[in-house]
Amino acid sequence: MNQDIAVSASRIVKTYGAGTSAVRALDDVSIDIEKGEFFTLLGPSGCGKTTLLRCIAGFETPTSGTILLSGRDITFTPPNERPINTVFQSYALFPHLTVAQNVGFGLQMLGRPKSEVAEAAARVLALVRLDGFANRLPQQLSGGQQQRVALARALAPQPEVLLLDEPLSALDLKLRKEMQSELKRLQTETGITFIFVTHDQEEALTMSNRIGVMSAGKLLQVGTPRDIYDRPVNRFVADFIGETNFVRATLAGDQATLGSGDTIVVDAKGASGSVTLAVRPEQIRIAPRDRPGAIHATVAESTYFGTDMHYQLALSDGTFLIARLQANAANVYGNGDEVGVLIDGTALQLLAE
């Protein structure tokens, strides 16, 4: 057994209902999460990421498969006997208990002496910068403060693994950004393994050591943010993480012929025949149309986004490409302008259909 693995889920299947109406919420998911890492489960709602989290927390029992915690089988261990704590999406703060009582609840349940509970609560509240709020009730706090209490409460018993179920989704944008770096800091300071669930790809990219992308109950790809963004394994991952242009092309050696008849040189890595090219909008450049190697296009629509401009470019066969350029004087084109398009062939991804 690998000493560095915190949670190891293998071949997890979770079905709801029975017979023909049965739904597979988790479809043969296997994953190893390393000790001390910030791991994010990313996917659209209903993809099974929360179900997987609940299986790890113990609120759901997998239909089949096993879950190990530091090598111990905890598949059927009740949640109150797992050294794993959760930060709930709704926070689930106990409304009748003060902030300090909320934070101390876990240690109290474990039968720790009062003094130790109080001391731990104070220490963790300081960690989340809520020192002065110990005697308030949860409903007297702002959303952001409640979120910190939820975090403190889950951290106080010093769990082996901390589960975070879309904890930032109720916060506004500015607070969310703040909490993102706060979470990252807490994870580094405490060294606890964080498993974070989100549908926000930007959140996943900026915070995680590794990301697992899920869709329809399946784990599609596990890797570092860079891996996932630069080398998506399929069209779903490419589409879900960031914006992507998908262009159909036919390969002949390293030469890809687009539907419009234009050609670009790519790194085919031995692939051939009909493929889909995934091109990130920032990998597209606009140039005068007589530039060598440029593909002819017409500007169909331009949208101003503050720091950058988005152009919708129509190729000669009617295919559209989205390009993202910095909004400066050199990059101003109007609707109907005839332009040339440059694509860096080595940066784009070949996706199997």
């Binding site: 927390a57 009740p78 109150n80 704590n85 409304p95 609840f105 349940m109 409460r153």
Partner: protein, 268 residues
């Protein structure tokens, strides 16, 4: 002038007038009853000036004292018993997957609301009279048992409403924080449920205090409660003493109801 007023879609012709009339009709008799309880005269017909005389007479009347004490003893026992079993039943019938027989449990619990009280009264009279004959026991136990039973649905409804308004996330969070099922109930579910339990107990108390018919049929000789004592007074000449007792009961009811509303409003 009427033409210039803004057109109000919520107004229907005559409705406001009838509504005001209804409120006047509802309260005028109660107010009259309360006013006449302070009548200094000897009859219920003539006003003889303000006086607390009838309260004093009622207070010193041993029959009234006995009935009042009996009413309170029965109401306290009945509300405690009814609220306890109703709390358990509410925990058993809410926030879980529907199970076989759940409808049967609902029907059983709400049965006292559906069966005419006179029928239950007759049934208990028949049943308890044979139990009395068989056991020789003729204490307040029968009344307490009967009151506990018909108070169950009144205790059950606010507790169930409270439970249904509580999602299970608190209990899940407690389990996540190492609480055993019993610890979860003791530290989380019960404290959060408490306003509902209190509300249920209050309604049960009021309902028990008010009961006439079942008490009238079930009571043994010398077991009058305040309402059955008052009903018995009808056979004699009516005196403002009845008004005084009524007013006292009325005040108690209003006080409990006010507390009930404050408790149920202050949720979350």
């Amino acid at each position: 002038m009427g033409k210039n007023r803004a057109f109000d879609v919520t107004t229907l012709p005559g409705f406001t007038a009838i509504a005001i009339l209804a409120f006047v009709l509802l309260y005028a008799p109660i107010v009259t009853l309360v006013v006449y309880s302070f009548n200094g005269g000897n009859s219920v017909n003539l006003w003889g000036g303000f006086s607390l005389k009838w309260y004093k007479i009622a207070w010193e009347n041993e029959a009234v004292q006995g009935a009042a004490v009996r009413s309170l003893i029965i109401a306290v026992w009945a509300s405690v018993i009814a609220t306890s079993v109703a709390t358990l039943a509410a925990l058993g019938t809410t926030r879980r997957k529907r199970f076989r027989g759940q409808t049967f449990i609902y029907v059983m619990i709400n049965q006292p609301l559906m069966v005419p009280e006179i029928v239950t009264a007759v049934a208990l009279l028949i049943f308890f009279s044979s139990v009395k004959l068989a056991t020789g026991y003729s204490g307040l136990g029968y009344l307490i048992l009967a009151h506990s039973a018909f108070c169950v649905p009144f205790a059950y409804l606010p507790i169930r409403a409270r439970l249904e308004g509580m999602d299970t996330s608190m209990e899940i969070a407690a389990a996540d924080l190492y609480a055993t099922p019993w610890q979860t109930f003791r530290h989380i579910t019960l404290p959060l449920l408490m306003p509902g339990v209190l509300a249920g107990a209050m309604l049960a108390f009021v309902i028990s205090l008010d009961d006439v018919i079942i008490t009238e049929f079930v009571k043994s000789a010398g077991q009058d409660t305040l309402p059955t004592y008052m009903l018995g007074q009808l056979r004699r000449a009516l005196t403002p003493e009845v008004n005084a007792i009524s007013t006292a009961l009325l005040v108690l009811t209003v006080l409990i109801l006010t507390a009930f509303f404050i408790i149920t409003k202050k949720r979350g």
